[in-house]
Protein backbone atom coordinates (compact mmCIF):
# COMPACT_ATOMS: atom_id res chain seq x y z
CA UNK A 1 0.00 0.00 0.00
CA UNK A 2 1.31 3.43 -0.79
CA UNK A 3 1.10 6.32 1.57
CA UNK A 4 -1.84 8.67 1.87
CA UNK A 5 -1.10 11.77 3.94
CA UNK A 6 -3.10 11.84 7.18
CA UNK A 7 -5.02 14.97 6.24
CA UNK A 8 -6.26 13.32 3.04
CA UNK A 9 -7.51 10.08 4.57
CA UNK A 10 -11.03 11.26 5.40
CA UNK A 11 -13.27 8.43 6.52
CA UNK A 12 -14.72 10.22 9.53
CA UNK A 13 -17.84 8.11 9.33
CA UNK A 14 -19.89 10.74 7.51
CA UNK A 15 -21.04 10.27 3.92
CA UNK A 16 -18.83 13.11 2.78
CA UNK A 17 -15.85 11.64 4.60
CA UNK A 18 -16.22 8.19 3.11
CA UNK A 19 -16.71 9.70 -0.35
CA UNK A 20 -13.52 11.70 0.10
CA UNK A 21 -11.66 8.64 1.29
CA UNK A 22 -12.88 6.64 -1.70
CA UNK A 23 -11.92 9.40 -4.12
CA UNK A 24 -8.39 9.50 -2.78
CA UNK A 25 -8.15 5.71 -2.63
CA UNK A 26 -9.02 5.52 -6.33
CA UNK A 27 -6.50 8.21 -7.24
CA UNK A 28 -3.91 6.47 -5.09
CA UNK A 29 -4.44 3.19 -6.91
CA UNK A 30 -4.39 4.85 -10.33
CA UNK A 31 -1.19 6.71 -9.54
CA UNK A 32 0.44 3.47 -8.43
CA UNK A 33 -0.68 1.58 -11.53
CA UNK A 34 0.43 4.39 -13.85
CA UNK A 35 3.90 4.56 -12.31
CA UNK A 36 4.43 0.82 -12.51
CA UNK A 37 3.14 0.54 -16.07
CA UNK A 38 5.20 3.49 -17.27
CA UNK A 39 8.45 2.06 -16.01
CA UNK A 40 7.58 -1.47 -17.10
CA UNK A 41 7.15 -0.15 -20.63
CA UNK A 42 10.78 0.94 -20.48
CA UNK A 43 12.01 -2.39 -19.17
CA UNK A 44 12.05 -1.44 -15.52
CA UNK A 45 9.79 -3.70 -13.48
CA UNK A 46 9.46 -2.41 -9.94
CA UNK A 47 7.77 -3.05 -6.63
CA UNK A 48 6.27 -0.79 -4.02
CA UNK A 49 8.71 0.38 -1.36
CA UNK A 50 7.99 1.90 2.02
CA UNK A 51 9.88 3.74 3.33
CA UNK A 52 12.07 5.23 0.62
CA UNK A 53 15.23 3.23 -0.11
CA UNK A 54 18.45 4.47 1.40
CA UNK A 55 19.92 5.19 -2.03
CA UNK A 56 17.19 7.72 -2.75
CA UNK A 57 19.37 10.64 -1.69
CA UNK A 58 18.29 14.15 -2.63
CA UNK A 59 21.48 14.76 -4.59
CA UNK A 60 20.94 11.72 -6.78
CA UNK A 61 17.42 12.39 -7.97
CA UNK A 62 15.63 14.21 -10.74
CA UNK A 63 12.09 15.50 -10.31
CA UNK A 64 9.64 16.71 -12.92
CA UNK A 65 6.06 17.84 -12.53
CA UNK A 66 3.13 18.80 -14.68
CA UNK A 67 -0.03 20.72 -13.84
CA UNK A 68 -3.50 19.74 -14.90
CA UNK A 69 -6.94 21.23 -14.46
CA UNK A 70 -10.47 20.16 -15.23
CA UNK A 71 -14.04 20.39 -13.96
CA UNK A 72 -13.59 17.69 -11.31
CA UNK A 73 -9.87 17.55 -10.62
CA UNK A 74 -7.01 19.97 -10.66
CA UNK A 75 -3.49 19.67 -9.39
CA UNK A 76 0.03 18.61 -10.10
CA UNK A 77 1.57 15.23 -10.76
CA UNK A 78 5.23 14.66 -10.02
CA UNK A 79 7.76 11.98 -10.73
CA UNK A 80 10.89 11.67 -8.67
CA UNK A 81 13.58 9.27 -9.89
CA UNK A 82 17.09 8.35 -9.03
CA UNK A 83 19.28 9.41 -11.92
CA UNK A 84 19.99 5.76 -12.65
CA UNK A 85 16.31 5.33 -13.53
CA UNK A 86 16.40 8.34 -15.85
CA UNK A 87 19.48 7.02 -17.63
CA UNK A 88 18.22 3.46 -17.89
CA UNK A 89 14.79 4.35 -19.27
CA UNK A 90 16.35 6.75 -21.77
CA UNK A 91 18.68 4.02 -22.95
CA UNK A 92 15.73 1.68 -23.35
CA UNK A 93 13.73 4.27 -25.28
CA UNK A 94 16.29 5.91 -27.50
CA UNK A 95 19.04 3.32 -27.56
CA UNK A 96 21.88 5.63 -26.59
CA UNK A 97 23.44 6.76 -23.34
CA UNK A 98 23.18 10.22 -21.79
CA UNK A 99 24.94 11.95 -18.93
CA UNK A 100 23.46 12.80 -15.55
CA UNK A 101 22.46 16.45 -15.44
CA UNK A 102 22.64 16.90 -19.20
CA UNK A 103 19.90 18.71 -21.13
CA UNK A 104 18.93 15.33 -22.58
CA UNK A 105 18.45 13.91 -19.08
CA UNK A 106 16.31 16.89 -18.08
CA UNK A 107 14.26 16.59 -21.25
CA UNK A 108 13.70 12.89 -20.71
CA UNK A 109 12.69 13.43 -17.08
CA UNK A 110 10.04 15.86 -18.27
CA UNK A 111 8.89 13.48 -21.00
CA UNK A 112 8.42 10.70 -18.46
CA UNK A 113 6.14 12.80 -16.27
CA UNK A 114 4.30 13.84 -19.42
CA UNK A 115 3.69 10.18 -20.18
CA UNK A 116 2.68 9.57 -16.57
CA UNK A 117 -0.08 12.19 -16.67
CA UNK A 118 -1.16 10.83 -20.04
CA UNK A 119 -1.66 7.41 -18.50
CA UNK A 120 -3.59 8.85 -15.59
CA UNK A 121 -5.81 10.86 -17.92
CA UNK A 122 -6.52 7.81 -20.05
CA UNK A 123 -7.41 5.69 -17.02
CA UNK A 124 -9.72 8.39 -15.69
CA UNK A 125 -11.84 8.00 -18.81
CA UNK A 126 -13.37 5.02 -17.03
CA UNK A 127 -14.84 7.53 -14.59
CA UNK A 128 -15.81 10.09 -17.22
CA UNK A 129 -13.19 12.48 -15.81
CA UNK A 130 -11.02 14.62 -18.02
CA UNK A 131 -8.75 17.63 -17.71
CA UNK A 132 -6.36 19.79 -19.64
CA UNK A 133 -2.66 19.17 -19.23
CA UNK A 134 0.06 21.79 -19.14
CA UNK A 135 3.63 21.26 -20.33
CA UNK A 136 6.07 19.55 -17.96
CA UNK A 137 8.80 21.26 -15.99
CA UNK A 138 11.84 20.14 -14.09
CA UNK A 139 11.79 20.90 -10.36
CA UNK A 140 15.25 22.17 -9.55
CA UNK A 141 14.85 24.32 -6.45
CA UNK A 142 11.64 22.74 -5.16
CA UNK A 143 11.89 21.52 -1.55
CA UNK A 144 11.43 17.77 -1.76
CA UNK A 145 9.80 17.68 1.67
CA UNK A 146 6.84 19.54 0.21
CA UNK A 147 6.09 16.56 -2.00
CA UNK A 148 5.47 14.42 1.06
CA UNK A 149 2.18 16.22 1.63
CA UNK A 150 0.73 14.81 -1.58
CA UNK A 151 -0.52 11.35 -2.48
CA UNK A 152 2.57 9.34 -3.13
CA UNK A 153 3.79 5.91 -4.06
CA UNK A 154 7.41 4.83 -3.92
CA UNK A 155 8.97 2.01 -5.87
CA UNK A 156 12.22 0.16 -6.13
CA UNK A 157 13.69 -1.61 -9.12
CA UNK A 158 17.03 -3.24 -9.71
CA UNK A 159 18.15 -0.06 -11.50
CA UNK A 160 17.11 2.46 -8.87
CA UNK A 161 14.06 3.91 -7.20
CA UNK A 162 11.29 6.25 -8.20
CA UNK A 163 8.16 7.81 -6.75
CA UNK A 164 4.96 9.27 -8.10
CA UNK A 165 3.23 12.21 -6.43
CA UNK A 166 -0.24 13.57 -6.92
CA UNK A 167 -1.21 16.88 -5.36
CA UNK A 168 -4.86 17.17 -6.25
CA UNK A 169 -7.91 19.26 -5.46
CA UNK A 170 -11.23 17.51 -5.94
CA UNK A 171 -14.32 19.53 -6.73
CA UNK A 172 -16.80 19.72 -3.83
CA UNK A 173 -19.36 16.94 -4.02
CA UNK A 174 -17.51 15.04 -6.70
CA UNK A 175 -17.37 11.25 -6.47
CA UNK A 176 -15.80 8.80 -8.88
CA UNK A 177 -18.46 6.76 -10.65
CA UNK A 178 -17.62 3.91 -12.98
CA UNK A 179 -18.93 4.64 -16.45
CA UNK A 180 -18.41 2.80 -19.68
CA UNK A 181 -16.53 5.06 -22.12
CA UNK A 182 -18.59 6.13 -25.11
CA UNK A 183 -15.67 5.43 -27.44
CA UNK A 184 -13.28 2.48 -27.25
CA UNK A 185 -10.27 3.01 -25.04
CA UNK A 186 -7.02 3.69 -26.86
CA UNK A 187 -4.14 2.37 -24.82
CA UNK A 188 -0.52 3.38 -24.68
CA UNK A 189 1.30 2.13 -27.76
CA UNK A 190 -1.89 1.82 -29.81
CA UNK A 191 -2.09 3.10 -33.37
CA UNK A 192 -5.36 4.30 -34.88
CA UNK A 193 -5.52 5.14 -38.56
CA UNK A 194 -8.43 7.37 -39.60
Amino acid sequence: MSETPPDLKGGDGSGEGSMTARNYAILDQLLRDCCLELMADYGLPATLATPAPASDAATDVSIAAIDFSGRDLRGTIGLRMTNSVVLETYRAAVGTAIDVGSPDASDWTCELVNQLIGRLKNKLRSYNVSFNVNTPRLLVMFPVAELERALRSRFVSDRGSFAGYLDVMIAPGFAFVDSAPEAPLVDEGDLVLF
Partner: protein, 141 residues
Protein backbone atom coordinates in the same frame (compact mmCIF):
# COMPACT_ATOMS: atom_id res chain seq x y z
CA UNK B 1 7.65 14.16 -56.61
CA UNK B 2 8.24 14.47 -52.88
CA UNK B 3 11.58 13.76 -51.30
CA UNK B 4 15.18 14.53 -51.97
CA UNK B 5 17.23 12.91 -54.67
CA UNK B 6 20.56 11.56 -53.62
CA UNK B 7 23.07 9.02 -54.77
CA UNK B 8 22.94 5.94 -52.57
CA UNK B 9 26.57 4.97 -53.18
CA UNK B 10 29.53 6.68 -54.85
CA UNK B 11 29.48 5.88 -58.51
CA UNK B 12 26.03 4.37 -58.36
CA UNK B 13 23.87 5.71 -61.13
CA UNK B 14 20.70 4.52 -59.46
CA UNK B 15 18.98 7.26 -57.54
CA UNK B 16 16.55 6.72 -54.74
CA UNK B 17 14.16 9.11 -53.08
CA UNK B 18 14.45 9.71 -49.36
CA UNK B 19 11.05 10.82 -48.21
CA UNK B 20 11.17 13.66 -45.78
CA UNK B 21 9.28 13.40 -42.49
CA UNK B 22 8.80 16.27 -40.06
CA UNK B 23 8.56 15.40 -36.36
CA UNK B 24 7.06 18.13 -34.18
CA UNK B 25 7.51 17.52 -30.45
CA UNK B 26 8.75 19.69 -27.60
CA UNK B 27 10.75 16.75 -26.27
CA UNK B 28 14.14 16.36 -27.93
CA UNK B 29 14.18 12.82 -26.60
CA UNK B 30 11.03 11.90 -28.50
CA UNK B 31 12.30 13.58 -31.66
CA UNK B 32 15.49 11.54 -31.37
CA UNK B 33 13.48 8.39 -30.70
CA UNK B 34 11.39 8.92 -33.82
CA UNK B 35 14.43 9.75 -35.91
CA UNK B 36 16.10 6.60 -34.62
CA UNK B 37 13.24 4.53 -36.00
CA UNK B 38 12.68 6.28 -39.32
CA UNK B 39 16.21 7.19 -40.40
CA UNK B 40 17.50 3.61 -40.60
CA UNK B 41 14.45 2.81 -42.73
CA UNK B 42 15.54 5.42 -45.25
CA UNK B 43 13.45 8.40 -44.27
CA UNK B 44 14.98 11.82 -43.88
CA UNK B 45 13.77 13.27 -40.59
CA UNK B 46 13.63 16.97 -39.81
CA UNK B 47 12.49 18.46 -36.51
CA UNK B 48 10.43 21.22 -34.95
CA UNK B 49 9.91 21.89 -31.24
CA UNK B 50 6.36 23.25 -31.07
CA UNK B 51 3.33 24.13 -33.13
CA UNK B 52 4.66 27.51 -34.21
CA UNK B 53 7.97 26.07 -35.43
CA UNK B 54 6.09 23.16 -36.94
CA UNK B 55 3.74 25.37 -38.95
CA UNK B 56 6.72 27.36 -40.21
CA UNK B 57 8.51 24.20 -41.31
CA UNK B 58 5.42 22.83 -43.01
CA UNK B 59 4.94 26.07 -44.95
CA UNK B 60 8.61 26.34 -45.94
CA UNK B 61 9.28 22.67 -46.70
CA UNK B 62 7.20 21.93 -49.75
CA UNK B 63 8.65 18.45 -50.21
CA UNK B 64 7.43 16.88 -46.96
CA UNK B 65 5.98 13.40 -47.27
CA UNK B 66 4.47 13.20 -43.79
CA UNK B 67 4.22 15.06 -40.48
CA UNK B 68 4.29 13.48 -37.03
CA UNK B 69 2.95 15.84 -34.39
CA UNK B 70 2.62 15.92 -30.60
CA UNK B 71 -0.47 17.46 -29.00
CA UNK B 72 0.62 19.14 -25.76
CA UNK B 73 3.37 21.61 -26.63
CA UNK B 74 4.26 25.15 -25.58
CA UNK B 75 3.37 28.19 -27.73
CA UNK B 76 0.96 26.28 -29.99
CA UNK B 77 -0.38 22.79 -29.40
CA UNK B 78 -0.64 20.23 -32.14
CA UNK B 79 -4.41 20.39 -32.52
CA UNK B 80 -4.38 24.17 -32.90
CA UNK B 81 -1.59 23.84 -35.44
CA UNK B 82 -3.67 21.35 -37.39
CA UNK B 83 -6.62 23.74 -37.39
CA UNK B 84 -4.40 26.57 -38.56
CA UNK B 85 -3.03 24.55 -41.47
CA UNK B 86 -6.12 22.53 -42.27
CA UNK B 87 -6.66 23.94 -45.75
CA UNK B 88 -3.01 23.83 -46.72
CA UNK B 89 -2.54 20.26 -45.52
CA UNK B 90 -5.57 19.14 -47.51
CA UNK B 91 -4.44 20.94 -50.62
CA UNK B 92 -0.97 19.36 -50.42
CA UNK B 93 -2.41 15.99 -49.40
CA UNK B 94 0.17 15.96 -46.65
CA UNK B 95 -0.64 13.24 -44.10
CA UNK B 96 -0.33 14.03 -40.40
CA UNK B 97 -0.04 11.46 -37.62
CA UNK B 98 -0.52 12.62 -34.05
CA UNK B 99 1.95 11.13 -31.55
CA UNK B 100 0.87 11.95 -28.01
CA UNK B 101 0.22 10.70 -24.50
CA UNK B 102 -3.44 11.66 -24.97
CA UNK B 103 -6.02 8.99 -25.78
CA UNK B 104 -9.13 11.12 -25.47
CA UNK B 105 -11.77 10.43 -28.14
CA UNK B 106 -12.70 14.12 -28.27
CA UNK B 107 -9.13 15.08 -29.15
CA UNK B 108 -8.90 12.27 -31.68
CA UNK B 109 -12.16 13.35 -33.29
CA UNK B 110 -10.91 16.93 -33.51
CA UNK B 111 -7.67 15.79 -35.12
CA UNK B 112 -9.53 13.65 -37.60
CA UNK B 113 -11.86 16.51 -38.47
CA UNK B 114 -8.82 18.72 -39.07
CA UNK B 115 -7.36 16.21 -41.48
CA UNK B 116 -5.06 14.00 -39.39
CA UNK B 117 -4.66 10.49 -40.77
CA UNK B 118 -3.58 8.68 -37.64
CA UNK B 119 -3.14 8.74 -33.88
CA UNK B 120 -0.50 6.97 -31.80
CA UNK B 121 -0.40 6.96 -28.00
CA UNK B 122 3.04 7.23 -26.40
CA UNK B 123 5.13 5.35 -25.64
CA UNK B 124 4.97 4.14 -29.22
CA UNK B 125 5.82 0.74 -30.59
CA UNK B 126 8.56 1.17 -33.16
CA UNK B 127 7.13 -1.26 -35.69
CA UNK B 128 3.71 0.39 -35.55
CA UNK B 129 5.15 3.86 -36.08
CA UNK B 130 7.29 2.71 -38.98
CA UNK B 131 4.40 0.75 -40.48
CA UNK B 132 2.10 3.75 -40.29
CA UNK B 133 4.67 6.05 -41.86
CA UNK B 134 5.36 3.59 -44.66
CA UNK B 135 1.66 3.09 -45.30
CA UNK B 136 0.82 6.77 -45.33
CA UNK B 137 3.73 7.63 -47.57
CA UNK B 138 2.49 4.83 -49.81
CA UNK B 139 5.36 2.60 -50.88
CA UNK B 140 8.01 3.73 -48.39
CA UNK B 141 11.29 5.38 -49.22
Amino acid sequence: MRGTWFCSEPGNTEFIVAKRVLIIDDSASVRRQVSGVLSPAGFQVIEAADGVDGADRIRSQTDLALVICDVNMPRMNGLDMLDTLKGELAQRQLPVVMLTTEGQPEAMARAKKSGAKGWIVKPFKEHLLLGAVQKLTQSGP
